[in-house]
């Protein structure tokens, strides 16, 4: 790896860290600066101003915002994720319970989505204009347009209520057997896969179609290359950057999907925790969960950019 590549990667990492820092600023100040008072929330409507002021002092909410911000960041970096007054437990505990569940869901989804979407996108590009291609494109555009909660509710209505094949809720007792677990996972994973696949199919198909329109692919054809050779050997290697980008984008969409899916299927994950936190205005919880999600997401898009840098032949 030469110097120029290392410089670019280093630059990209620096930008990522800067972004994370700015995101933390944004998250903290949006939650703290907008109207709405935590003390008031905790004590309810009929509270005296003195009681509220007392509570604020106890919680340390009366100190300047900048100070609290740095305390919070310091806490995050050292593992102190704050205390949730609404549930009366440290946030770290809540997160530790739920995070693995969400990760499982996300991992299973991506493990299915990435190969499926790429495969379909590539085949659609190879047989461009064929019935297969048009069918895939039509399905993709429909799924992209359908809100996730619609797909979720329709699936539940059909498979749980009508056909009675699958359970409507995904709460899994730790002692459940494999079959129960799989059945419980099928619908939430399906909804997520539909959602993230559709975007990725469209983007990767477009990326490959762009590469197919270049003069060098035409040259390959004039050398007698078959269509699959043109796509696999020539177009695909040059589409790495936009395809990886599409993976990162679909991950961003995945987050939105996870939030909906965990709610519909009552799945005990981190996203549902965060939504509950927003409903109860549990600030420390919201702040920490946001940073976790944003952190993951930044890691993903930085990785995507770095892969794009590495795959650029002009930098070798």
């Amino acid at each position: 790896m030469n110097k120029r590549i290392l410089e670019m990667i280093g630059g990209r990492l620096a930008v990522a860290i800067l972004s994370l820092f700015l995101v933390s600023l944004a998250v903290f100040f949006i939650t703290e600066l907008l109207p709405g008072d935590t003390a008031q929330e905790l004590l309810g409507q009929a509270v005296t101003t003195e009681a509220a002021a007392q509570l604020r002092e106890t919680l340390g909410l009366d100190r300047p915002a900048i100070l609290r911000y740095f305390e919070w960041v310091f806490g995050l970096l050292t593992g102190d994720l704050g205390y949730s007054h609404v549930s009366d437990r440290p946030v770290a505990n809540l997160v530790a319970e739920r995070l693995p569940n969400s990760l499982t869901l996300a991992a299973i989804t991506m493990a299915i989505t990435i190969p499926l979407a790429l495969g379909l996108g590539i085949f659609a590009a190879i047989w461009k204009g064929s019935i297969f291609d048009r069918a895939i494109s039509s399905v993709a555009i429909m799924l992209v347009s359908f809100p996730e909660f619609m797909i979720a509710t329709l699936l539940v209505m059909w498979l749980s209520v009508y056909m009675q094949w699958l359970p409507a809720l995904s709460f899994i007792a730790p002692t459940a057997d494999l079959r129960t677990i799989v059945l419980a996972f099928i619908m939430p994973v399906s909804v997520l896969v539909f959602g993230s696949c559709s975007q990725m199919i469209r983007l990767s198909r477009a990326a490959i179609a762009d590469a197919m329109a270049t003069p060098y692919v035409e040259m390959a054809m004039l050398k007698g290359a078959s269509r699959s050779r043109m796509v696999l050997r020539h177009a695909l290697p040059n589409s790495v950057a936009p395809i990886v980008n599409s993976v990162a984008l679909s991950m961003s969409g995945l987050l939105g999907g996870v939030i909906i899916v965990e709610t519909v299927f009552n799945y005990p994950g981190l996203a549902k925790l965060m939504v509950d936190g927003v409903t109860t205005r549990d600030m420390p919880l919201i702040q920490t969960c946001s940073m976790i999600f944003c952190g993951f997401y930044l890691v993903l898009i930085t990785a995507a950019d770095i892969i794009a840098i590495l795959s650029n032949p002009r930098l070798r």
Binding site: P215, Y216, M219, G224, P237, S311
Partner: protein
Amino acid sequence: MTNIAKKTGDTLVSIEDLRVTATTDSGRKIEILKGINFEVRRGEVLALIGESGSGKTTIALSLLAYARSGCHFSGGRVLLDGVDLISLDEGARQKLRGNKVSYVPQSAAASFNPSKKIMDQVVEVAEIHGILDKTAARTKAIGLFRALSLPSPETIGDRYPHQVSGGQLQRLAAAMALLGDPELVVFDEPTTALDVTTQIEVLKAFKSAILDRGMTGVYVSHDLAVVAQISDRIIVLKDGEIQEAGETEQIVGAPAHPYTQALISAFEPVEAEAAGSRQAAKAVLEMREVVAGYGNVKSDGKPHIIAVDGVSLTLQRGHSLGVIGESGCGKSTLLRVAAGLLPAASGSCILDGKDLRPQVSARSKDELRKMQIVFQLADTALNPAQTVGNIIGRPLTFYHGMKGEARDKRVIELLDMVRMPAQFRHRLPRELSGGQRQRVNLARALAAKPDVLLCDEITSALDTVVAAKVLELLKELQRELHLSYLFVSHDIHTVQSLCDEVMVMFGGRKLETFAAADLHAEARHPYTKLLASSLPTLDPTWLDNLKQDPELVRKFAHA
């Protein structure tokens, strides 16, 4: 090619009443080829000559049984060794391409996959058709590199396309085409994008490869002189129809068809009036020791990447100064510095005796008005979203405050000056031809009532016949309006026919300035002599008889 008697055999290619139709997006059908008939015998090289839109590339591609998207074969037959290519299905066509017929593209730089090594792409033909195994293919490729005079033939294949020069890529593309031992090779304007000095090397390489193998070739080009060097027979095309066909000597020596005659006459440079007959006038534009470039300014006052390195020139009022040089010499940058678009790092620019500020934003409106720049590609030089009337009218409003009826009247006058009808002012640029757009470009510059026109390769993208007319117009305007031109071009013939004085640039530096009539004098700088000698003439024996000092070539050419 006349000095070697060639043995030509039976007919290899026979095109019968070929018709190709294109369907535009709106459903309209346009006939690109209107019934083409010709034959190619084994061992001969046939040239297809025509301007853009004549259909020559379409014919070339049809020899590979390929029509670009939007086009389809609507009639006729393309017989290769007795087999009609159009009647074959896709699988059969794939078997032919690269194997029996191969293609050398116009832009080799765009036709190589940027993320694969060159050798992998050159031997891909053997891989696709199963002709040779990997090692044998590699050996053969290296042999071809050597035969085409490529530097470091053993290792050049291990590089990526962007690490290799344009002239080398073009020869590598030829090697790629020859690897499969095809019976027919189709060359699609392969030297059009190259500098003249590079073009010579590439042409020589092609010619020797063709002769050594007794190859059959179809050579497509718009350049008669290039084609005269390399082909046995020439076919002249216009608008999808054959105008004239014949042996090379006959076509270039005694053309029968009026269109061919027009092409030949547009080719010959029209001699400018001898410098002596024009009185020396006062200098209207002077540039002194101008240094300009990109990037941060280093400690010695020069920018990181130097594009113009200490160039000085004097343009006399009413005269034209041509600036010639090959790609990368800095001539276009020089114009931008003069216009203020790229501020000079040091040196001065003096217009009509007054010092100009380097930045365009620091100059007064009047100073800007006096010097107008005219760009090369009229497609990008005119705002596609504005009508011709607005394009020409804006400088009128901006500089002279003209509005309404007065402005409209002046727009019509300007259109008339560039020989265009008044109703064109309602048209959009995309509704005009290349030559018309260039005239609008000129009219816009003239609207300001300038003293100096900075012309940046304004005829380079035009067909020869159209370009000749634009040059005519420039000369008339110079006489009528007493304009001064700083005319940048890479084409010596153009500069010779228009300019009084010529300046030669190389590597950002000015090499010399001389009167246009003295181009071939003995006193010229070696590089100028090299440039002048690199221009193909219509004499078919020119390439074979060409003697160029290899030292000079190595020093100055980018081949």
